[in-house]
């Protein structure tokens, strides 16, 4: 059975050879030459250094289009018109499924028709030289963002292509994204990705790794997200990664969001080895958006305000066109600027909100419960523990489509709008914490004059897109 051990050099080389044979562009990857390319990059493109040395939250949008020149234009406009500090390159769905042939056809069609026939940048097809042209054209650090369960070839090519940050992880890019990939399989895949990042790191090229914090993006209780971040951070650290950005998706309650980001940073530093530099990233609301740009700007504004108070190292912004899917570059830049304005107006203010420490203590206690469950099940090995904990539901993610998680735990908001757990299923949590959640949800039920039920869950899922935080029942006609 797979274990949390550093991939041996010969294994790294063997897998590297294998996966580079999966697609023609793999042949151009050459490690020593890639190190030289990274060494030639200016300080302004070194992702880890730029992120770790910032003293205010850096802003990063999402963006990816199939053609190289279009991607350069898009990123340049997000940097200049949007004022993005860090840039993304979002990968297309075919590449995420390792369907490079289909991605090639899509890219060809994009080149012929001028239309965006893929929903992202097929970095494997563009190959090392295409990636380098992108990196050389944009004066800012760029991260690879995707959602790929088996991202080994993607990592090999984009690392050699000059990218210095790579999103994802074996749980966070499996459980929320796909139905039938086993956890053992994705952990093995990501051990390679992390080891490759570690190999670059050992040569002075600190590849930043960013586990995907929002998970299913729908009312994920903070402690579940944090536990998974810690696990993926530990796995990456084992493989030699030294710059790790732990993620968290806004739930919309300011106190809980600030508390969660504080807890994430603190537990990250505690659980991860000292030699790892831990940073945090805050994702603006990942759930359903209002079908209205004005209201969407309000959601984004609340995200900016939360970021100004919590001061994560990075904020991933949303656009006012979130509801309709991929935004125009103008809307994408608008989301950046709305966020920037709110952060810059609020960040110099001393805004200490009561109750953040208590909420943070609760989140930390829950996170430790979940981590203990994982360590216990693995007899000290976090890989085995993780697989077993997901298998028996001790660790679980709400609304997970994957067969690798039970997906039986259900969240609901309490009367203050904080995300609590309504249905624990088999999640391992101490009884006192369960009682606290139960009491909070019971107070909400009293306020609303209804029983606690899945109806609250359903109402909460739709609430923000319908203009509220908490999914209260409609007032009766006679009230």
């Amino acid at each position: 059975m797979i274990r949390d051990e550093r991939l041996r050099s010969d294994e790294l080389r063997r897998i590297d050879r294998e996966i580079r044979a999966d697609w023609s562009t793999g042949a151009a990857v050459e490690f020593e030459e890639a190190i030289a390319f990274h060494d030639s990059l200016p300080a302004s493109k070194r992702f880890a250094d730029v992120l770790e040395s910032a003293d205010v939250p850096l802003l990063q949008p999402r963006a990816g289009v199939p053609r190289l020149d279009d991607q350069i234009d898009l990123l340049e406009s997000l940097r200049t018109d949007g004022g993005a500090d860090l840039l993304p390159t979002t990968i297309d769905s075919y590449t995420r499924d390792n369907e490079y042939e289909k991605a090639a056809e899509g890219l060809e069609a994009a080149r012929e028709t001028g239309e965006d026939t893929l929903n992202g940048f097929p970095a494997v097809n563009h190959g090392v030289s295409g990636c380098r042209e992108l990196i050389e054209s944009i004066d800012a650090p760029i991260e690879v963002r995707h959602g790929t369960p088996d991202a080994r070839l993607l990592a090999a090519i984009t690392f050699a292509g000059g990218f210095q940050s790579f999103e994802g992880g074996p749980i966070s890019y499996n459980i929320p994204y796909t139905k039938r990939h086993g956890l053992a399989e994705t952990i093995e895949n990501w051990q390679f990705v992390d080891r490759l990042a570690g190999a670059y790191t050992e040569r002075g090229v600190r590849i930043n790794r960013e586990p995907f914090g929002p998970l299913t993006g729908t009312l994920v209780p903070p402690s579940i997200a944090i536990a998974i971040m810690l696990i993926e951070g530990l796995l990456a650290a084992t493989q030699g990664v030294r710059s790790i950005t732990l993620g968290y998706g806004q739930v919309g309650n300011v106190v809980q969001d600030v508390a969660a980001l504080n807890a994430l940073q603190k537990l990250g530093e505690e659980y991860l080895p000292d030699e790892v530099v831990v940073t945090t990233v805050f994702h603006e609301w990942m759930g359903g958006f209002p079908p209205d740009e004005a209201r969407a700007s309000g959601v984004i504004g609340l995200g900016g305000m939360t970021a100004a108070i919590a001061r994560p190292d990075k904020v991933i912004t949303k656009s006012p066109q979130e509801f309709q899917g991929v935004p125009t570059r103008e809307a994408n830049a608008a989301g950046l600027r709305t966020t920037r304005q709110v952060i810059d107006m609020a960040i110099e203010q001393e805004i200490d909100i009561d109750g953040i420490d208590e909420e943070r203590a609760l989140i930390e206690r829950e996170s430790r419960c979940l981590m203990d469950a994982v360590f216990d099940r693995g007899d000290g090995d976090i890989v085995r523990g993780t697989i077993r904990a997901f298998d028996d539901g001790a660790l679980d993610v709400p609304f997970a489509p994957s067969d690798s998680a039970k997906g039986a735990v259900l969240p609901a908001r309490d009367d203050d709008g904080r995300v609590r757990i309504f249905e624990w299923a088999d999640l391992e949590m101490d009884g006192e914490i369960k009682e606290i959640h139960g009491a909070r949800l019971s107070r909400r039920a009293d306020t609303e004059g209804r029983d606690q039920s899945f109806r609250m869950v359903a109402d909460d899922v739709d609430a923000i897109s319908e203009g509220k935080l908490i999914g209260r029942p409609e007032p009766r006609g006679d009230v």
Partner: protein
């Protein structure tokens, strides 16, 4: 008639939130629920319906390709000799200005009832009780305020 309900999201669709909420709603209403989850094929629906002697098969689709995904679905059910009630719900067409036309399309494909994405689970539960001639049980724990 069997109170077992087979639920799933058809095709390559990975939208899990709605089906999770339906599972909870039907369970709370006293049905036995078999949730096949996302990305379920026509054959998997049929196999589960046979295995669990389902009284109803509930199909969800939210990504706009429901019509393609459901072509021939009722032939598959028929050849497995399944006579369960069949419902479909979700975002059944891209840009559903005229839901009546969408409903007609899916009725012609063989579904007994067709719901849009704004439908409350309670409505589907009430319909299924009528179709299966079931009365609310005493274990009913859902409080509906309207």
């Amino acid at each position: 008639m069997s109170q077992t309900v087979v639920l799933g999201v058809i095709g390559s669709d990975a939208h899990v939130v709605g089906i999770t909420i339906l599972e909870q709603a039907f369970s709370a209403a006293g049905f036995d629920v078999v949730n096949l989850g996302v990305q379920t094929s026509q054959e998997e629906f049929a196999e589960a319906a046979v295995a669990h002697d389902a009284g109803a098969v509930l199909v969800s689709s939210l990504y706009g390709h429901a019509r393609q995904d459901c072509q021939g679905f009722h032939d598959v059910l028929e050849s497995a000799e399944i006579d369960a009630v069949t419902y479909i719900g979700g975002n059944l067409a891209v840009g559903q200005d005229d839901f009546e036309r969408t409903r007609e399309t899916f009725r012609e494909l063989g579904f007994d009832r067709v719901f849009d994405s704004e439908t409350d689970p309670e409505e589907a539960i009430a319909a299924l009780r009528r179709d299966l001639q079931i009365r609310p049980t005493e274990t009913e724990r859902v409080t509906v305020s309207s």
